[in-house]
Symmetry: C2
DNA sequence: TAAACATTTAGACAATTATCTAAATATATA
DNA sequence: TATATATTTAGATAATTGTCTAAATGTTTA
């Protein structure tokens, strides 16, 4: 889960995930959405993949990236436990 | 929200939040839970406070820290939109 | 008021990170 | 097979970050 939090701490990577929420995209299509070099985007995609936040599917010379919500579900659960359970001073029974 | 994600990307800071889930604690009590110097813990607490993840309450010479779920609610919502809305290939109607 | 205690600030340093360019790899096509 | 295209790898560099020690600040109490 540490990998996922680290991966999400960068705004570029979060924006990549938001792009993939609408459509699966190739590495090239993703890089076109940023003023950042392709190798840098590739690096970000690698971090997202390592954190199990995206999936790769090689189709010929293209690599199609898609969302993988596995790690996000853990984060959702972790976060929810704070927002939901945050009443320690209200019900001390 | 960027500050919050950045703040959450460090394991020590996430552990601090988990400690505060159970009890409000002073800076000193928090630092006792780690093999890290007090100034370093103070630095982490500052980052958490800046990200609106904790609240400070100065009581005499002690500073009591408590959870602030404000920023976590934003993160929860952001994350939920992926886990919940991640069905773009299933219902294209 | 002086001493003890709690916390933060200041400044330094090593490790990590985001970025770049150049080169390598892999695939498709003329 | 040669060339063009898509992507990643390698290596360098500047900025950021987590940590430390020493010092400063603020508060309590003897």
């Amino acid at each position: 889960m540490n990998k996922a939090f680290k991966a999400l701490s960068d705004p570029t990577r979060r924006k990549i995930l938001e792009l993939l929420k609408d459509n699966d995209l190739t590495a090239g299509e993703i890089s076109e959405c940023f003023n950042i070099s392709k190798p840098s985007i590739s690096h970000h995609l690698n971090i997202l993949s390592n954190a199990e936040l995206v999936l790769r599917d090689k189709q010929g010379q293209h690599v199609i990236y898609s969302l993988n919500t596995t790690a996000l579900q853990d984060i959702l659960k972790w976060t929810f436990d704070f927002v939901e359970g945050g009443n320690k001073n209200e019900n001390k029974n």
